[in-house]
Symmetry: C2
């Protein structure tokens, strides 16, 4: 194994220069562990090509020498998706040198960027031509376009513009045999068989290496309105969202927050205050935007909320009157996880169900968890319009050292069972990676799992693409 | 072969009743030829299950007996995609009895329907709850949901709402091993590996049988405006579209029509007249809609067109002042093919290029074809905003008996070469079926083609799903 790896590294260096293969342990080390420090791997080198042709050559060489490759962008996977195996059998293939903007067109609302471009740079490139790339998430300063595509990333703006899948107009990728798939024309209509682009989105680098993408841009935000409403139950919150959607397509954020999450934030996060005078069992944070001066989202949101109060859908509501007030509302939402951590150990579950099922599911799942693990406190908040829950279970009175490693895992399986029984997904946003392979195998429909494996084996018969991830 | 087919037919009859296997030649015969009469096949029976479980059982039985199945909906394929092989080796699997509406929700904008539902029924079901299923095409009275999904159908409303792919929220399908893939929850966020739903869209029944789908609905049309504008060249037409898109998202139709197509319609189709006083080298037909009374699309379109005349993007324009005038404008567009047929033999090419490339491509392709085949007249019209051309070549002075069968085929290959060189697609809407298998093999990137074949062989190792289509 070592000898073939050395031969491969030498060939890459000879053909593509010293920067194309990093072997100094001090330079390799930081990329062997995932950003949360949960997964640790081993690799002798990071291969770092600067062009699609170099990626193609490396994949071909790796195929000849049977050396597995672990593609890596910003190394921000939540499921160990970019961490190499521990036995040193694989090399890392970093896309970070391939970070160029190839073309951008405001007129056609499309940017063609390489896989290693960092999301924040993409935001800046789009802004520079008066447009917006609407997907965003916490790791925007590190995560790369290739990783976002390979994990079909979501985030907070999915309600209006969809996940990464719907923002990809076309892909360029190196397939496991080293051939280059060129889909950057971004054809709106193309029916030449199975869509390789769609297959590569969310494939976690196990079917090939995404090297570039044609991405959709949308109008820049001219102004926004952020509001807060108290409602009686999740069903009312969903009815409110559907009511708004029937009247406008300007709603970009719609976050559900239970009373106990709000209470935790107010207790643990300095400088926060309840946006409304009274207490409400459930709250929603709503954001509406405009892309042009002619239309005022504040007026829109005020009028929508006033109507909803009249219809008894909403108990009380307010709309931020300044940008700093708007930020304060978002700060409450964004501080929930931190407040929970301050409160003691908890588990976090990245799950989704059908949007229509979400109100019932989150109440029933909370009750089921608290019944099965008396003393725990389950709470769900998050993207109501996406059916995507941040379902967290706090240890509560069961808290003890090592709770997360022991009962936490039991609770994970319990929640995964509940969401599977409800027809939902055990991985809404993060993918499978290393972390959820066991749960995927345990819970996926056997026929679906067999199909995923058949696809993997067909396209990557030697198992060289991101080994140990997903079904590899 | 015959014996195993008989055994299979008997088993299906015994288990699912006489209606589940049609063998009377008079009943089978109409489904052995495609609707245009170009492809002829042979089959001893039409299997006609009434439920997903029956489809699953039939696929398992067919697997055991190694009998290929040709799934069929409305039999409206343009490329022989639903016609069985001529040697009688396969049976037809009709989905037409599975035509139920399972659920529909105006609130959640989703309908779950079985594969055999006819598109027009789906339109009616959506309208009955105050919603719209926005995809439509000429065969709407016959084509079925399963076929629309399996061909990733397009049509005239793609500009705003996308092709079938973007209207599918989730699928139920029977995979080649008989297992049932259940994706009808329609999860908005789901990252459990490769998307089988997305793989089945456009797979032409070669990877399994779509049995039901969760489909997105959109607001019903409250009123529409249809306008006509004369422009100097296709580049101006595209600039006009981009100008409008930057100002509104209400544009649903944007069709490009060259002067010679308009002239043919005016000459051959009774009752048609030029919508404008003068002649223009190129014309565009524009449709804008509203979904609520508060907003008048006629005013919007008038104001957009007035601005465009001021900006010199448009030479002259009008907006229909009545629904009958609006229909008269669409009639011009919809009569182009008929007018061309009246004028003599012609070829039709279902091709696409990137939207931004379309103006240049259509001018250059026209010139190239007319240079290579002197005397022919090439013209392109169609969905400018989709990069989807109806590129037609009329025989002109080269017309002679059998022109279509001889020179027509040469021209097809010539046009396919041009579109491939431009990074476009030889099948924008219709799929590959039987008709374009040779061209796909000749022109697809070898690595892509190998990947398509590997997927096909992995999921359907015995080649029993729609044999002879796509890469099967």
């Amino acid at each position: 194994m070592s000898d073939t790896q050395l031969t491969l590294i030498d060939e890459v260096r000879t053909r593509f220069g010293p920067r194309a293969a990093i072997t100094d342990p001090a330079d390799v080390e930081p990329w062997l562990t995932d950003w949360r420090g949960r997964f640790h791997g081993s690799a002798r080198a990071i291969l770092s090509p600067s062009s699609t042709e170099e990626v193609s050559a490396i994949v071909k060489l790796a195929g000849e020498h049977r050396v597995p490759l672990v593609p890596q962008g910003g190394n921000t996977s939540m499921v160990g998706g970019a961490t190499p195996p521990g036995d040193g059998s694989a090399l890392i293939l970093s896309l970070r040198r391939m970070n160029r903007l190839r073309t951008i067109s405001a007129q056609h609302n499309v940017a063609i960027v390489e896989a290693g471009m960092i999301l924040q740079q993409l935001h800046e490139q789009a802004a520079a031509v008066g447009r917006r790339f609407p997907l965003t998430l916490g790791s925007r300063g590190s995560c790369t376009v290739g990783g976002l595509i390979s994990t079909n990333a979501g985030g907070t703006q999915v309600l209006r513009f969809g996940t990464m899948r719907s923002l990809v107009a076309g892909l360029e990728a190196v397939l496991p045999d080293g051939s280059i798939h060129s889909g950057l024309s971004g054809l709106k209509k193309d029916n030449r068989g199975y869509s390789l682009d769609q297959l590569l989105v969310g494939a976690e680098g196990t079917l090939g290496i995404v090297t570039a993408a044609a991405l959709r841009l949308v109008p820049a935000v001219y102004s926004r309105a952020v509001g807060w409403a108290g409602v009686g139950d999740p069903q009312a919150a969903l009815a409110l969202l559907r009511d708004f959607e029937a009247k406008t397509d300007r709603i970009e954020g719609f976050e559900l927050i239970p009373a106990d999450s709000l209470e935790l934030v107010l207790r643990h996060i300095p400088g926060t205050r309840n946006p409304l005078d009274g207490e409400h069992k459930w709250n929603v944070l709503i954001e509406a935007t405009s892309s042009a001066p002619g239309f005022d989202p504040v007026e829109l949101l005020q009028s929508l909320l006033a109507g909803a109060i009249g219809d008894k859908l909403v108990e009380d509501a307010m709309v931020a009157s300044s940008e700093s007030q708007a930020e304060a509302l978002w700060r409450i939402r964004d501080s929930i996880s931190e407040a929970e951590r301050t409160d003691g150990p908890s588990t976090a579950h990245d799950i989704s169900v059908a949007v229509a099922d979400m109100p019932t599911f989150l109440l029933e799942a909370k009750a089921a968890v608290e019944r099965a693990f008396p003393g725990t406190i389950a709470s769900a908040f998050g993207h109501l319009g996406d059916g995507n829950l941040h379902f967290h279970v706090r240890a509560g009175s069961r808290s003890m050292p090592g709770w997360n490693q022991r009962e936490g895992h039991e609770i994970e399986r319990f929640v995964d069972d509940l969401v599977t029984a409800a027809g939902g997904s055990i991985s809404a946003e993060h993918g499978i990676g290393q972390m959820k392979r066991g749960e995927l195998e345990r819970l996926a429909a056997p026929g679906d799992l067999a199909a995923l494996r058949a696809i993997k084996n067909a396209l990557d018969p030697h198992g060289l693409m991101n080994p140990g991830k997903l079904v590899g």
